[in-house]
């Protein structure tokens, strides 16, 4: 869940299951085969910061 209480970004659809904006970028980083460095950065910036959190565990 994000700090402002959302589990997705706005405008969730089947094409954008995590919604737009931060939600969508979280989805991208986690599920569409980004490099290890990017995945690491994601974990550091987003999980560790507590400023974002997501619906699912990363599958990588």
């Amino acid at each position: 869940m994000s700090l402002d209480g959302f589990v997705t970004g706005p405008n969730v659809s089947t094409e954008q299951p995590m919604g737009e904006g931060a939600g969508a970028s979280v989805h991208d980083s986690m599920f569409s085969g980004k490099s290890d460095a990017e995945a690491e950065r994601f974990e550091r910036d987003d999980f560790v910061s507590g400023s974002r959190l997501t619906l699912q565990r990363p599958t990588r």
């Binding site: 700090l3 402002d4 209480g5 560790v48 910061s49 507590g50 400023s51």
Partner: protein, 193 residues
Amino acid sequence: MGRVTSEISMSLDGFITGPNEGVGNGMGDDGERLHDWMFDAKTDTDAAIVDEKYASTGAVLIGKRMFDMGFEPWGDPPPFGMPVFIVTHEQREPLPMQGGTTYNFVTDGIATALELARAAAGDKNVGIWGGANIMRQHLKAGLLDEMQIHLIPVLLGGGVRLFEDLDPEGIELRRTSSIETPGATHLRFEVVK
């Protein structure tokens, strides 16, 4: 120069008051539970966090609605002990209270209010202590250096939302500390500029 820091208690479902808040019910129904960590549930760690907040702050900036709701319950001396700046549309003479608190009313916007508060705070921080609207305005305008959120493990189901309708464009937060006590998770975020 000091920093501009906001500080507020928020329920897990995102509210800083319970439902039906208003003058005479400033924290809303059940909203006082958000402050248990400062009173009934207070540990030494919680006490140290409150002490640090007062020691580091030289002036406080609040919204008019918070002032209207707080004025009576805060009483005299009010729980500030330093200059307080209130952003309002109503022109009013400064109101000195006991114990070092003076209420100053600023009618030309948050930027001016912040400038006056900074001058009054000297080397110390300006504390934006509520409510939600004034915090959002400072965050959105890039005027906040740091946000402190005391995340309280209660669900209030209604009330004033801290992040109501806030467009997140251009706002990035980096968590700098997290301290857990039975009554709260004390989160500190740097506003990335």
